[in-house]
C-alpha cells in the first residue's frame, strides 16, 4: 500500500514536467481578474471568453531565450469591492506577470493598490471610469473612457434623431451608469439640448414608471447606460407600454440579451461599442469567424456566452487585451513584472477593435466608436456608423 502511494505521489510530481514538455523554456502566468458572479458576472464571463480564445490561438510567446508557455490564472472578484483585495492577491501570489481586467470599474480601483504594491501591470479591458488609471501608474486600459463615450452618444442622438430633449436612466450606485449618464448630459446640454435624468435602485424590475416619466417629459431619446440585467426589462416594458422613443446605450448593451429582448418589438435600440461583429476588416472578420467556431465547439463556453454565439464587444476587447499583454511580454523580452512595467507605456497593437496606443494616464488613445442598431426581425446587430467626438 505504501509503495503504491509513493508511486502515485511520484507520478503526481512528474505530471507538470510531462505536461510542460521539452520545447518550452518556461511558463509565464497571465492573471484574469474578472467577475464570474455578482451583478457583473455575466459580462465578466464574456470578457474572459475573449481572453481564453486568444490564448487558444496564441498559447505561447517567443522571447529571446526561448518559447514560453502562457498559463492563464483566473480569479472571481464577485463584482464586489470588499472581495476585490483577496481576489487580486490570489493572482499576485499565483505569480502573474501581468493581469487583465476587470469588467466593472469599482473592483478595478479597489484592486489597484494590491497590483501596484506587487509591481504587476494591470490592463483594464472594459472598465471605462476615468478613476481607474488616474493615480495608479501600473494600471493601463485598452478601451475608451466614459467622457468620450458619453460625448459620442450625445452627438449621435443629435445627429441621427435630431433630438433636443433626452432622458437618462441610470442605476443608482453604479459608477459606470452614473458616470456615463453624467458625461452624456454634459455633452448634450453643451450642444443646446435639454436633459432629464433619473436613477433607479438595484433590484428594480418595474420600469414602467420611469418610462412613463420619460414620455411625460417629452423626451425624444432615452439614454440608459445600464447593465444588461435591467436592459431587457427596459426594452420589453417600453415595448409592452407602447413607448416608441428610441433608446440609446453604451457598450454594456452590446449583448445578445438585448437582441433577444428587442426581437419582435418595434423598439429602436442603438448602442455605441468597441467592436462591430459585421466589421469587414480582415482581422475583425477572422476573429468573429474563429470565435464563433470555438464557442460552438465548446458547450461550456457557449453557456458562458449566454447560450448563443453572438460576439459581445467585451469578448473582442478581451481578445485584444490578451494580445496586448503578449506584445508587452515580447517588448520587455521578459516575464518579469519590473521589466514589463518599464516598457508598458510603449506597447502598441493593432487589434480587432482598432489600433491601441497608450496615451495619457495609460489610457488607450481612442477617437471613434462603433454605433450599432438592433434589427428586430433578424435579432442581430446592424452597423450604423463610426461616430467620433469631433462631429
Amino acid at each position: 500500500m505504501k509503495k503504491l502511494t509513493a508511486l502515485f505521489l511520484a507520478l503526481m510530481l512528474l505530471l507538470p514536467v510531462i505536461a510542460l514538455g521539452e520545447e518550452y523554456a518556461g511558463e509565464i502566468v497571465i492573471g484574469i481578474y474578472e467577475p464570474a458572479s455578482g451583478p457583473n458576472g455575466a459580462g465578466g464571463k464574456q470578457e474572459t471568453l475573449g481572453i481564453y480564445y486568444a490564448n487558444h490561438l496564441a498559447p505561447t510567446v517567443e522571447l529571446s531565450d526561448g518559447v514560453y508557455k502562457i498559463r492563464l490564472e483566473e480569479v472571481d472578484n464577485q463584482s464586489s469591492n470588499d472581495k476585490a483585495p483577496t481576489a487580486a492577491r490570489t493572482l499576485v501570489d499565483a505569480g502573474a506577470s501581468i493581469v487583465l481586467g476587470s469588467y466593472g470599474s469599482g473592483v478595478s480601483i479597489a484592486a489597484a493598490d494590491i497590483f501596484d504594491a506587487a509591481g504587476v501591470v494591470a490592463i483594464g479591458i472594459s472598465c471605462t471610469n476615468p478613476q481607474v488609471t488616474i493615480g495608479n501608474p501600473l494600471y493601463y486600459r485598452i478601451c475608451y473612457l466614459d467622457p468620450f463615450q458619453g460625448t459620442v452618444l450625445a452627438n449621435f442622438a443629435m445627429d441621427e434623431f435630431t433630438a433636443k430633449k433626452a432622458y437618462t436612466l441610470a442605476q443608482l450606485g453604479n459608477d459606470y451608469d452614473v458616470g456615463l449618464a453624467y458625461y452624456f448630459t454634459e455633452a448634450f446640454k453643451g450642444k443646446g439640448g435639454e436633459v432629464n435624468g433619473e436613477t433607479f435602485p438595484l433590484g428594480t424590475s418595474d420600469f414602467t414608471a420611469y418610462l412613463t416619466s420619460a414620455v411625460n417629459a417629452g423626451a425624444e431619446v432615452i439614454f440608459s447606460p445600464t447593465s444588461t440585467e435591467f436592459a431587457s426589462q427596459i426594452i420589453t416594458q417600453a415595448a409592452a407600454n407602447g413607448i416608441k422613443i428610441p433608446i440609446l446605450a453604451g457598450d454594456t448593451w452590446d449583448s445578445s440579451v438585448i437582441l433577444d429582448a428587442a426581437k419582435g418589438t418595434d423598439m429602436s435600440v442603438s448602442v455605441s461599442t468597441f467592436f462591430d461583429e459585421g466589421d469587414t476588416s480582415s482581422a475583425a472578420a477572422d476573429f468573429v469567424k474563429g470565435f464563433k467556431e470555438w464557442l460552438n465547439a465548446n458547450p461550456d463556453k457557449l453557456a458562458n456566452n449566454g447560450g448563443n454565439d453572438i460576439v459581445a464587444a467585451v469578448s473582442a476587447l478581451g481578445y485584444d487585451g490578451y494580445m496586448v499583454a503578449l506584445e508587452a511580454l515580447k517588448l520587455a523580452d521578459s516575464g518579469e513584472r519590473e521589466d514589463i512595467a518599464e516598457i508598458m507605456a510603449d506597447v502598441t497593437f493593432n487589434g480587432v477593435t482598432g489600433a491601441i496606443v497608450f496615451g495619457e494616464n495609460g489610457d488607450a488613445v481612442r477617437d471613434q466608436a462603433f454605433i450599432k442598431k438592433s434589427n428586430n426581425e433578424t435579432g442581430a446587430w446592424e452597423f450604423v456608423k463610426v461616430q467620433s467626438v469631433s462631429e
Partner: protein
C-alpha cells in the same frame, strides 16, 4: 451627477384627460405589481401565522419557479411546462420546510430565522452556479403576454389578469381555510400552537400544507410577475419577496385579506412615489411605511393583538 428634478407629474396635465393619460400607466403598474406582491405575501403571512417565522427563503422559491419555467419552456410544450413548474416549486417549498425548518421546531425563534436566511443564501448561490448568472429571458406566455390598450395606455394583458386572478385565488383560499378540515386545523394551529398539538392536530401535516399553498401561490405569482418583468436573475426575487413581506406586516401578519390589501397599497404607493420623481426612495419608502405601521399599529391593519402572558 446633475440631478434633474422632475417635479410632480400630478400637476402637469392641463386637462383631466391629460392628467389621466399621464398617470394611468403608474396606476396600472401599481395595481399589477400589487397583485403579484399579494400572491407572494400570502405565503409569508400564512407561514408566519403558524410558525411565527419570517420565511426569508420565500422570495428565492419565487425565483426558482421562474427558472423552472425558463428551462422547461425551452424543451417542453406549455401545457406540460406550466403544471410541472408549479409541481416543482411546491416540492421545493415542501422540502425546504422539511429539511431546514422542521428539525428546528423546538429551537429558539432566532435559530429558525437564521436557518431561513441560510436557505435563501444557499438557493441564491445554487441558482448562480446552475445558470451562470446571466439574465435569462422569461418565455412569452400566450394570452397574458399580449399587449392591450386601456384608454391611452398600452400594457400587457397580465396587468389586467393579475388583480382578477389574485382575487379569485384569495377567495378560493379563504373558502378552503374556513370550510375544510385542514383549513380549520390551520386556524387552530395559528391561534394556539401548543394546545392544538395537545388536541391531536397533526402539526407537521398542517405546516406542510401551509408551505405547499404558499409555494403554489408563489409559483403563480412568479408566472405573472415575470411575464411583466422578463429578466430572471438569481436575485430577482429578493426585492419583491421583501416587499411582499412588508405588505404582509402592513396588512397585519397572519391575516390573508390584510396581506392582499397591504400588497395592493404598497404596489400602488410605490408607483406614486416614482411618479413624484423620488425614484431613489421607492424602496426606502416601502420600509419607511413598514416602520411607521410597526410603531403606530404593530399588529398591522387587520392583525389581532396579542397579550404576553406573565
Amino acid at each position: 451627477m446633475g440631478a434633474e428634478d422632475f417635479g410632480p407629474h400630478f400637476s402637469k396635465g392641463t386637462s383631466m384627460s391629460d392628467f389621466i393619460s399621464a398617470n394611468l400607466p403608474y396606476l396600472l403598474a401599481g395595481i399589477s405589481v400589487g397583485g403579484q406582491y399579494a400572491l407572494i405575501a400570502i405565503g409569508y403571512t400564512m407561514v408566519y401565522g403558524i410558525l411565527r417565522l419570517i420565511n426569508f427563503a420565500h422570495g428565492d422559491i419565487f425565483t426558482v419557479a421562474a427558472y423552472c419555467m425558463v428551462y422547461m419552456n425551452a424543451t417542453l410544450p406549455l401545457y406540460l411546462s406550466l403544471p410541472l413548474t408549479i409541481i416543482l416549486t411546491v416540492l421545493l417549498g415542501f422540502s425546504v420546510e422539511r429539511i431546514a425548518y422542521k428539525p428546528l421546531r423546538s429551537a429558539p425563534r432566532m435559530s429558525i430565522m437564521i436557518s431561513a436566511i441560510g436557505v435563501s443564501y444557499l438557493l441564491q448561490n445554487l441558482m448562480w452556479y446552475i445558470t451562470g448568472g446571466l439574465a435569462k429571458q422569461y418565455p412569452t406566455l400566450p394570452f397574458i403576454s399580449n399587449p392591450v390598450s386601456i384608454y391611452t395606455a398600452t400594457t400587457k394583458m397580465v396587468t389586467l389578469v393579475t388583480p382578477v386572478l389574485t382575487l379569485v385565488l384569495v377567495v378560493a383560499l379563504v373558502q378552503l381555510i374556513n370550510h375544510t378540515k385542514v383549513g380549520m386545523a390551520m386556524r387552530a394551529v395559528s391561534k394556539d400552537f401548543e394546545t392544538s398539538k395537545l388536541m391531536g392536530i397533526k402539526i407537521n401535516k398542517v405546516i406542510s400544507v401551509t408551505f405547499i399553498i404558499g409555494s403554489f401561490l408563489a409559483a403563480v405569482g412568479s408566472m405573472l410577475y415575470f411575464s411583466n418583468y422578463t429578466a430572471v436573475t438569481p436575485t430577482a426575487g429578493a426585492m419583491p419577496g421583501l416587499k411582499a413581506f412588508v405588505a404582509a406586516v402592513f396588512g397585519g401578519i397572519g391575516s390573508i385579506p390584510g396581506a392582499v390589501i397591504g400588497a395592493f397599497i404598497i404596489g400602488i404607493a410605490e408607483n406614486i412615489i416614482k411618479a413624484l420623481g423620488l425614484t431613489s426612495f421607492s424602496d426606502a419608502f416601502t420600509f419607511a411605511l413598514l416602520i411607521i405601521i410597526l410603531i403606530f399599529k404593530p399588529t398591522g391593519l387587520f392583525g389581532e393583538p396579542q397579550q404576553e402572558k406573565v
